[in-house]
Assembly symmetry: C3
Homo-oligomer: 262 residues x 3
């Protein structure tokens, strides 16, 4: 990972404006769409079983987030993931609240078993729960650190042959062999609802322009952390952080990336 690599992906994103298809939760739809627009992508949200395969067909990547799941939506997720696999576009999977209820954990396992994603992104609790369904999560917030989940992340990456991203104060990205760490970010970021879900969407944007999935996921997480840090300097609290974060995604330049990347 280098500032130059991140910048190259960002330039491609802004030039190509790839269509990122999102089936995500109600809470974060607005911020996810705004973050994708700000970074240079073209977001679309569609969940009707009648249209998801057709929408995937014009998309460059697919983001699946189970945050406010229900049976009808799971059907749409399944259909869209199948279509994405056939079209060979990246699938980014967010197991929100895995471990909090049996329904969530089971839905994740079912979807992951049916269609292999390119990237799974979750917090430490969620990643651990995907591997060991006995682990109990407290709602959608993590009870563990990203590095605590390293062993689980490596096993999960090997099991589904994908990249696993564990977000936290330090983000961990692994394909089961290599490991990248991202140390950018700010302590106030977890106080903004949906920034984790937004990270998943932003990985979808980077994966749409960079076929090296480890690099795309790492560059996306570094961009999240850099923008979070730059935004936090200007912010009195989490709501101004949310606003400044989106503005920073939009205005971010090469010098800021190089200067801020740790």
């Amino acid at each position: 990972m280098s500032g130059k690599d991140i910048w190259n992906d960002l330039v491609k994103l802004r030039q190509n404006a790839p269509l990122v298809h999102n089936i995500t939760n109600y809470v974060v739809m607005n911020i996810s769409a705004n973050a994708l627009l700000a970074i240079g992508a073209s977001p679309v949200m569609a969940h009707a079983p009648q249209e998801v395969a057709e929408m995937v067909n014009i998309a460059s990547s697919l983001v699946i987030n189970i945050g406010t799941l229900s049976d009808k939506w799971i059907e749409a997720m399944t259909l869209s993931m199948r279509a994405a696999a056939i079209k060979s576009i990246p699938i980014i999977f967010d197991p929100v609240g895995a471990g909090a209820t049996t329904y969530r954990t089971k839905t994740c396992i079912d979807l992951l078993t049916e269609t292999r994603p390119s990237v799974i992104r979750g917090n430490a609790s969620e990643i651990m729960a995907l591997l060991d369904s006995e682990i109990q999560t407290k709602g959608v917030d993590s009870a563990a650190n990203a590095t605590d989940a390293e062993v689980a992340a490596i096993s999960l990456a090997k099991k589904y042959n994908c990249v696993v991203v564990v977000s936290g104060a330090t983000d961990l990205i692994t394909d089961g062999n290599k490991r990248n760490l991202v140390n950018n970010g700010h302590a106030m970021m977890p106080k903004v609802t949906g920034l984790g879900c937004t990270a998943t969407a932003i990985i979808g944007a980077f994966a749409a322009v960079n076929t090296d999935t480890m690099a795309a996921a790492t560059n996306a997480m570094a961009t999240m952390g850099i923008c979070g840090e730059l935004a936090a300097e200007m912010s009195a609290g989490p709501a101004s952080l949310q606003m400044n974060f989106i503005d920073t995604l939009y205005t971010l330049d090469e010098q800021q990336i190089i200067r801020t990347l740790r």
Copy 2:
């Protein structure tokens, strides 16, 4: 269109606080409601088939937006549009993503055929797709300019005997005979998710207080453009633009309108 006309509508809106019933998409519900409140209207969101007709009965206009459509919601849209036609209140229709999938295009044609709206507002791609279902749109963002869609807009206005609004850098408003152009606006506005959908909601507010539908739609689009321009001057990026835009809808006065209108 004159600054005085726009101001007169705005005064009526703030005095009467008309109830605008919205059946719209998940992504934009919050910003649409906030924009309607800021302009002086009273928004309500309700989509249960059991209640939509009754809600229409206390409303002054109806806004239908298919952005995140599904079968259950289409049923509610159909019932509410029928009720609005019986009560003779304006229906404003937003064909989000028409042309992107067969399901979207077909749903639009079905709804428009069943009940004539007062206004259809879309971007150039969507308006063209409503007339020629062979046209393929890229997600929900337009691949064409508003003026490219002029012929389609005129035909569509004649076909459904309604006003058609094509948003873009220049907005085009036509009833099939007359044509108004709105040149206000700012290049950063398409980077805020849902500002097009918000325009549709704002047309609903103006149409609730001005029975001249061409004038209402034009004044609404001019107000959107003026507030977008004024807000952009204060904004570092799309998220601060969204905030300043809503604030400006709330504080907008006659002098600002007259000074900014092109």
Copy 3:
């Protein structure tokens, strides 16, 4: 009610980060989640009938808001309320738009009859409509003052043996015997969509750390009013008010509470 009491609850909230389970409407999910995070709670949104009882089981309070109701969601509300009653955690109920349609009023009565909540919070029209289904509300905005609803609030509190909160310029909180009034707040607050719903969620947070329900509801409403006032001083319009309000929930300290409380 004293500044010290409010502060004590706030300290507990920030220390314990209680999980607040919300089944709420699409319009306000994002602002409710952000407000709960900012005040120190841990929000979760889940509405699938398959998982709500299990989610309630790890939660410290349950917030039910019928704003964008439909049959499937009512089923989830019923199941979660039953589970909360069994687990004896507080249920906070928001009858959004009661009186606007038969479906809304009937749903409220059914839910309240089936499971007694700890707190009902609504505007004056909604509270009156819960008692007298002949009262017609205009959408989701109140046509009456909080104090107009005092008789209805007392009757309702006695009927369901719960605390009733009527929000308005002055908020009224009653358990049928005692009465608290909160005079903090700002005239621009009703121009922000979902601040009423947010109040309901914030009551959920306070009730999770304070077993005296009258005190918890009063402290929550005072915190809403204080933060609204402090935020309004910095705000040009309703959108900056919304942002500054969330930031203030996050940064609020004891001195600000004591200085601002009326």
